[in-house]
Assembly symmetry: C2
Homo-oligomer: 221 residues x 2
Amino acid sequence: MEGEGGGKDVTSVKDTSPAPRRGRRPAGHAGREQILEAAISQFGEHGYQATTIRKIGDAAGVNAKLVHYYFGTKEDLFTTAIAETFRSRGFPDLLAEPSPEGAGSPGTRYLSAVLATLEDPGLGPAFLGLVRGLGTHEESRRIFLRFITEELLERLGPQLDTDHGRTRLELAGSQLLGLVLVRYVLKVPPLADFSVQEVARIIGPTIDRYITGDLDWDDNG
Amino acid sequence: MEGEGGGKDVTSVKDTSPAPRRGRRPAGHAGREQILEAAISQFGEHGYQATTIRKIGDAAGVNAKLVHYYFGTKEDLFTTAIAETFRSRGFPDLLAEPSPEGAGSPGTRYLSAVLATLEDPGLGPAFLGLVRGLGTHEESRRIFLRFITEELLERLGPQLDTDHGRTRLELAGSQLLGLVLVRYVLKVPPLADFSVQEVARIIGPTIDRYITGDLDWDDNG
């Protein structure tokens, strides 16, 4: 999380340039990493809908074609951006790992990591924009579905040492999504005012119950 | 739940009329009840945004002014329509009542009553339309907030024999909202395919824990 936009490599590129061009890196120097950083920053600042592949290319100092080459469509790029940010922070795997002693339950740790990411100016605003558009914006709905299906249900489901892995994850996801809406979109107090840790401690056990608890399945469920 | 639009009184009105006018009741005969029924049916069929006070008046066979007179703005009318439907079905009070023996926990009963209402063609579609618009449509956000604040938090909070009544209800609301989104808006299987009873049995204990369980409050919470 090094602020907005510029990655570490920019400095070294600038160092070898005679005079830094205003905010633009010389074409060809930006690789996958830089484009992804630029994308996250653009999505975060302008929201998914107002961001274009061309603007992301501009911000990364590369041609839009190179952005497409690395990441496919805007929808693909956004999905990748969320997934990589979530993975780089070590979840969803957090849910499947046993907790170190004194670190709180897996559900509590998971919740507090997710909420911290959503409150981080890096990816948070873009992700919340996606959540806002779930109900009315077909592309947002599709991206969100793809994200939870690929990154949560399919990736993590088989790792869970339990029956009904997919359903359990979906239950946890339903609580998380509702919390995100109430806290960040509707902003209803008091939940909107609690600290991340407080919310995680209160709701974490719900996540734990869904993932590993004894649930009342139907006989044929 | 007597199908779409027409209430029981319509027949008696028609009986005394020389010839029934096409679908319209004579002006002046429709009271508060009829207007409310027409409103629910119009909101359900066309969604909140496409429905106008004039169309509701037309459907009820009255002047738009009479609709305003009884219910205020469209926003007020919609809020009233949801609130009265929910009240007429006996919740949110379900949450504060002890369960009759063998009827499942209060959380389970509450969930199953709410889901049944949302799946009823009467009010369900209108309410789901509201939920869909939460993130992008300011009026939907405002109506939903008003509904949960007035009907859930303020009405029921003081009835709960517990500390942190408002927070507890908001926690329950967050799980319910997330479930509604996953099941009815995103329609993610397997939760989208479970029966109402099955979902209620699995998620109900979460609602119970939030309402009456031992939650990990902060010392100053």
